[in-house]
């Protein structure tokens, strides 16, 4: 296979879970609620996706269950942050305990004491374009082995952009993130919309987790998420809180993972021996360098993370 196609296709594959999650974060933060709990929601989604897909025999049911799982955790976050004016960061942190806690707890109950699920084998997420293009052509190498989830993730970027920029709902979300009091004065139900964005964000993070466990890999294990929720979080910042910006950031992270994989090939190692630990470090170093060189002025929604309290 041509290496260019391989790198691109691997980039797409590894970006997809991050794109889902980062989009979820963009939605939530645009509406004024910081969601540091994305990692925990992804983790729970990864477990739910793999476990339910395994027992139902259908990856789509698993995928939906992952969304519901992420959404439920997000509901908890919304209750704390919106209704009870919790410190967003601390509540998100709690989610990062509760999500993995429930995932591993349920895993041990459902999979006979194990903290990993059984492999899905042919119940993995399907590949819609497999065999569609001429075998071994560039497009086949690039898209033929992509799962449905990759396409959904990429399609969601314009969808979220459209919702935020072109719909009345989007205008309301953005207004609340910038200046909730003004939105409130105009008769917008701030709490209801914040509930919506936080839960929608959790559903997307759950999808992102499921993408890891039923598309990128074919089972859940305790180290499957390892920091990807946090990487998605930095993709939001890097992408300046825009869906298309987050997409670019996720592609860069996916690309650095792909480069790491190529550098790990034995043929490459023979010429250019890079220790595997350094390769594993690469995505994080690259993202840090990117943050330093591109972020510049902060452009977060002005009221993000500040619980809105109505005057009585």
């Amino acid at each position: 296979m041509d290496i260019f196609a391989f790198v691109l296709s691997t980039t797409f594959m590894y970006s997809a879970p991050l794109i889902f999650t980062a989009l979820g974060g963009v939605l939530s933060e645009k509406g004024g609620v910081v969601n540091i709990g994305l990692e925990g929601m992804m983790y729970f989604g990864a477990f739910m996706g793999a476990a339910i897909a395994y027992y139902s025999g259908n990856p789509w049911i698993g995928f939906l269950a992952a969304g519901i799982g992420g959404g439920l955790l997000a509901l908890l976050h919304a209750v704390a942050c919106v209704t009870f004016k919790a410190n967003n960061t601390i509540s998100g942190l709690a989610i990062n305990f509760i999500g993995p806690g429930f995932a591993l707890f349920l895993s041990r109950i459902m999979f006979d004491g194990a903290t990993y699920t059984l492999p899905l084998a042919d119940k993995k997420m399907g590949m819609p374009l497999k065999g569609f293009f001429m075998k071994d052509s560039f497009l086949d190498n690039l898209l033929g082995s992509q799962c449905h989830t990759t396409f959904i993730a990429f399609l969601l970027v314009p969808v979220v952009w459209f919702i935020l920029q072109k719909t009345r709902l989007g205008l309301r979300i953005r207004a609340i993130g910038e200046y909730p009091k003004a939105a409130d004065t105009l008769g917008i139900n701030v709490a209801r919309i914040q509930y919506f964005v936080v839960i929608a964000g959790g559903v997307l993070a759950g999808f992102g987790g499921a993408t890891l466990s039923i598309a990128v890999s074919s089972a859940f294990n305790p180290t499957i998420v390892t920091g990807q929720g946090f990487i998605a979080l930095s993709a939001i910042v890097f992408g300046k809180w825009k869906p298309q910006g987050a997409l670019v950031a996720c592609l860069i992270f996916g690309f650095s993972t792909a480069i790491g994989i190529v550098l790990g090939w034995s043929s490459v190692q023979a010429v250019f021996p890079v220790p595997s630990q350094i390769l594993a470090m690469l995505p994080f170093v690259i993202s840090l360098v990117i943050l330093v060189s591109f972020v510049g002025k902060s452009v977060a929604p002005s009221s993000v993370g500040i619980p809105y309290e109505k005057d009585n």
Binding site: S91, I95, I98, P100, F105, L233, Q277, M281, V295, N312
Partner: protein
């Protein structure tokens, strides 16, 4: 005088709410256990006796608490100065790596070796933390993001160093054990000599205690907590750091160099977490190994700080509490078969409640409003 009384009242109500959160956390844990078919009372009593029923258990709790108190202090210090140090995990790793390298590969006389190891750990962790502070001060990179990245970089750096052929042990991806001169365990040599064995047989409690790697780390951790309290409350550096934490604008207006303060604050945070890593190696593990997953000493420090409401002295108690949960919790898995992860659910719930200090007042006002509303609607009829 009045002010002081008010302060005390606030303090007491905060403490009450913390206990309330802990109670709710344990309650939620009990409900989850009950729903999954385990007897929660049995589970909690196994935990309790697994924590208190033997001197060695208590000693283990103290050993577990040592790094947690220090990482808790690290995070609490960052909160007090307006930052959020999620990077204690990475700073811990770097500190432990430094201590393991100095302790294991450097020959120094005792009495010098231990301080050098601890200073090395503090310095290494401090620089690792200060780097995040530098990125924030210089490039406006949010410290939450940069410390998360640096955690993973530290993680892989640790694995890189530990697997170097010149450093690793034959056949294992771990560093050499630290030299005896670098150990801080209590009486490490004496406790297995013949005279000691005879003494231990005659004193079963001491015997049981000496079975554990009880070490001097806890004393350092407690002293450090008081030092941090002193630094924050009684020194001008602490004052200016807190002013930056309270209000950046007023700090700038008062001529405080905010950028410098951010770097100093992250430096201190890193030093504390680095010390945690160093003491862990000198007192307990005696080496560092290739990591498969994050060990979470730093992440748990966040919870310790939150449960302590960022009070340095509070970190001692919440560190001990956290150590009880993490040491006693897994015992229900071996005894009952109940998943040990119930502890994470309990801790998460506690933190969730700690995050909502206004919970009770909001509930109260909602309740009042419903009563008023029902009264009004009744009046309409």
């Amino acid at each position: 005088m009045n002010n002081r009384k008010l302060h005390k009242k606030e303090w007491v109500s905060a403490l009450k709410f913390t206990f309330f959160s802990i109670f709710i956390g344990l309650l939620v844990g009990a409900i989850v256990l009950a729903f999954s078919g385990y007897n929660p009372i049995q589970a909690y009593s196994i935990m309790l006796s697994g924590i208190f029923s033997k001197p060695s258990y208590i000693s283990y709790v103290v050993i577990y608490a040592t790094p947690l108190i220090l990482t808790g202090l690290s995070v609490a210090f960052s909160f007090k100065t307006g930052l959020f140090n999620i990077g204690a995990e990475g700073q811990f790793i770097i500190g432990s790596l430094a201590a393991a390298l100095i302790g294991g590969y450097l020959n120094l006389p005792a009495y010098i070796h231990v301080p050098v190891c601890i200073l090395g750990a503090i310095l290494a962790g401090g620089l690792w933390g200060a780097f995040s502070g530098f990125l924030k001060a210089k490039f406006n990179v949010n410290e939450v993001i940069s410390t998360i990245m640096l955690n993973w970089i530290a993680f892989h750096l640790n694995n890189f160093v530990v697997t170097r052929p010149s450093i690793k042990r034959e056949g294992m991806n771990v560093t050499q054990f630290i030299a005896d001169t670098a150990r801080i365990e209590i009486l490490p040599k004496w406790k297995n000599c013949e005279a000691a064995l005879a003494f231990r047989e005659a004193h079963p409690i001491i015997n049981d205690l000496l079975r554990t790697p009880l070490n001097a780390g806890i004393i350092i951790a407690i002293v450090t907590a008081f030092l941090i309290k002193y630094l924050l409350d009684r020194t001008s550096l602490g004052y200016s750091l807190r002013v930056v934490g309270d209000n950046v604008n007023s700090a700038e207006y008062n001529g405080i160099n905010v950028k410098k303060n951010i770097i100093i604050s992250m430096l201190i945070c890193g030093m504390l977490a680095g010390a945690a890593g160093g003491l862990q190696v000198l007192g307990r593990t005696r080496n560092v190994a290739e990591l498969a997953a994050m060990e979470s000493y730093g992440f748990n420090g966040i919870s310790v700080a939150l449960i302590a409401r960022n009070s340095p002295i509070g970190c001692i108690f919440s560190g001990l509490f956290f150590a009880m949960l993490t040491y006693g919790g897994p015992k229900i898995q071996s005894a009952l078969g109940a998943p040990r992860e119930i502890i994470n659910i309990v801790i998460g719930t506690i933190i969730l409640f700690v995050a909502v200090p206004k919970l009770l007042s909001i509930l109260k006002s909602k309740f009042k409003r419903t009563i008023i509303n029902t009264k009004i609607s009744k009046g309409d009829e």
